[in-house]
């Protein structure tokens, strides 16, 4: 029973992290119908910026003493802001000029941006070629224990931050004027522009939001796994990005709620597989789930097969 609950909690923590990244894939796909391969690199950059900020501020040197609470918040916001600007720049410089080009060109460009970010990130003036250890910004303790299940501060933080961000996004997309404009643009560019919507501005905004979410995920990731800050071109980042893309597909690509659901499902799947089957096959569970979902519901769990009335 304890093991079951503990796994459930761990799965939710990892899953909410995946969900944050999956949202970026799904929002861009929903609007531009292409897979933003550079998204996993924005996530990577988010994680590294968090490290650079925390290390530069000297919070690393504090050792045993937990840095003040604002250190974590400041690092989170700095990383989100940096990646928001990065996402805006990527769209403006790389994708917008290709707005009328075939989708394949955009896809290849995305792969190019991905390689560019990975390799420029390894420059010594930036993040370098060595893995680093993230300074502990949160106390590494268990906040409380219920029925022998340990609720670690860091896991609770991951879940709380992810939930807040997803609630904000949900509100933004479904209850604001801008969100309505985003959904209109995702349905049809030209008709949206006839409503007076500045389509380019909406697309920029989508990249800003998606990239900020990926940065938050990067921050939470290195909080949770301080030893896992691999060098920018390491394959860990791509694999993590790929898993989150799978989460978006499982939930129904283009569907915001689907990405949240898919992320959590994948996190649970991975943790339960690792706990009850074998910890060595985590990735297999995720991709098996993808295959099953694609066989049973090709449009994803919350995706609707598009039917057009004529």
């Amino acid at each position: 029973m304890t093991k079951l609950l503990q796994t459930l909690f761990d799965g939710l923590a990892v899953g909410s992290l995946y969900a944050l990244i999956a949202l970026g894939y799904t929002m861009v796909y929903g609007i531009l119908q292409f897979i933003n391969f550079a998204h996993s690199d924005v996530f990577m950059t988010g994680a590294w910026v968090a490290y650079v900020v925390a290390a530069t501020a000297g919070w690393a040197a504090l050792g045993g003493d937990a840095p003040p609470l604002y250190a974590g918040l400041f690092t989170l916001f700095a990383s989100m802001l940096f990646c928001a600007i990065l996402g805006f720049g990527i769209e403006r410089l790389a994708y917008r000029p290709l707005r009328k080009a075939p989708r394949l060109n955009v896809l290849i460009t995305a792969i190019g941006i991905s390689l560019f970010l990975e390799n420029i990130g390894q420059r010594p003036e930036l993040f370098g070629t060595q893995p680093q250890k993230m300074p502990q910004l949160l106390p590494d303790t268990t906040l409380f224990t219920i029925a022998d299940v340990n609720f670690r501060v860091v896991d609770l933080t991951v879940i709380a931050v992810a939930l807040v961000l997803m609630a904000v996004l949900q509100w933004l997309v479904f209850h604001t004027r801008l969100g309505r404009a985003m959904r209109a643009v995702s349905h049809n560019f030209s008709v949206a522009s006839l409503m007076g919507i500045n389509v380019d501005a909406v697309i920029s905004f989508t990249f800003v939001v998606g990239s900020a979410m990926a940065a938050a995920a990067g921050f939470l990731y290195v909080m949770k796994y301080p030893g896992a800050l691999k060098q920018p071109a390491d394959s860990t980042w791509i694999l993590l990005g790929l898993k989150c893309f799978v989460a978006a597909v499982i939930g129904g690509i283009g569907n915001v709620r689907g990405a949240m659901l898919g992320g959590v499902l994948i996190g649970l799947m991975e943790m339960f597989g690792a706990a009850y089957l074998s910890p060595h096959m985590r990735d297999i569970y995720v991709f098996s789930l993808l295959i099953i979902v694609l066989l049973v519901r090709p449009a994803g769990l919350l995706g609707r097969a598009t039917v057009e009335k004529v």
């Binding site: 309505r180 349905h187 030209s190 008709v191 949206a192 006839l194 919507i197 500045n198």
Partner: protein
């Protein structure tokens, strides 16, 4: 000066020369119709006016201002609304949200609420379906939504592209009655139609477009009586 003036307009789609020196004008307060067969360039003309296409030559003037080459989202603010061909309702959004998007550029909440009420009185069917996704509406209802949504921008010039397309004759009559009503309430309309018969009945002025050129322009009643138009577009002998 007319509300809308198009002078010597050329539009290319790649190598295809879709519009060749189109000149027309729409006087404030009128219904002007642009008729012609499939592929004559009717929709292209509307898309060029609303900014979805950039003309390769010529000028478009709306209310005295040059508007050719300006993006559509800016033109909406000037008072131009375009209900596109194939209706173009946002199928994934509710009827309610579609109507809200029609008023996207407006800040006067009270005015929007009043206009919304007017639109729903004009199209009572939409009121019953406010919370339904627009994709589940019938063709006629989608057309009503597209027109109603365009009206919510409170346009001075309403561009209507084939409002009768694919609709049952009874519904077509309803739509044309409403077009006349909208015009009577003060909105100028440029109406593109394949149903020349109905279009010439409601319009004040008419233009006939053939493979990218205006071949006839006259009062609608004159066109409706003309032998050439009867033969080509009205199924007369």
């Amino acid at each position: 000066m007319a509300l809308l003036e198009i002078c010597d307009l050329d539009v290319h789609y790649g190598a295809i020369h879709a519009l060749k020196g189109v000149t027309l004008s729409v006087e404030a307060g009128q219904i002007v119709t642009l008729i012609g067969g499939n592929g004559a360039g009717k929709t292209t003309t509307l898309r060029a006016i609303s900014g979805l296409l950039t003309p390769s030559a010529g000028q478009i003037t709306f209310d005295g201002k040059r508007i050719d080459g300006r993006p559509p989202h800016e033109l909406v603010r000037l008072g131009l609304a375009h209900a596109p061909e194939g209706r173009g309702v946002f199928a994934n959004l509710t009827v309610d949200e579609n109507l809200d998007l029609g008023a996207y550029t407006r800040k006067d909440a009270a005015g929007v609420a009043a206009d919304r009420d007017k639109v729903l009185r004009l199209f009572p069917r939409l009121r019953e379906r406010l919370l339904q996704p627009a994709g589940t509406l019938s063709g006629g209802e989608q057309q009503m939504l597209a027109i109603g949504r365009a009206l919510l921008a409170r346009p001075r010039l309403l561009l209507l592209d084939e409002p009768s397309l694919g609709l049952a004759p009874q519904v077509v009559r309803t739509i044309f009655d409403i077009i006349r009503e909208i015009n009577a309430a003060g909105t100028t309309i440029l109406l593109v139609e394949q149903n020349a018969h109905m279009a010439l009945r409601v319009a004040h002025m008419g233009y006939v477009l053939e493979v990218g050129r205006i071949v006839m322009a006259d009062r609608a009643s004159v066109l409706a009586a003309s032998d050439d138009v009867r033969k080509a577009y009205l199924g007369g002998h």
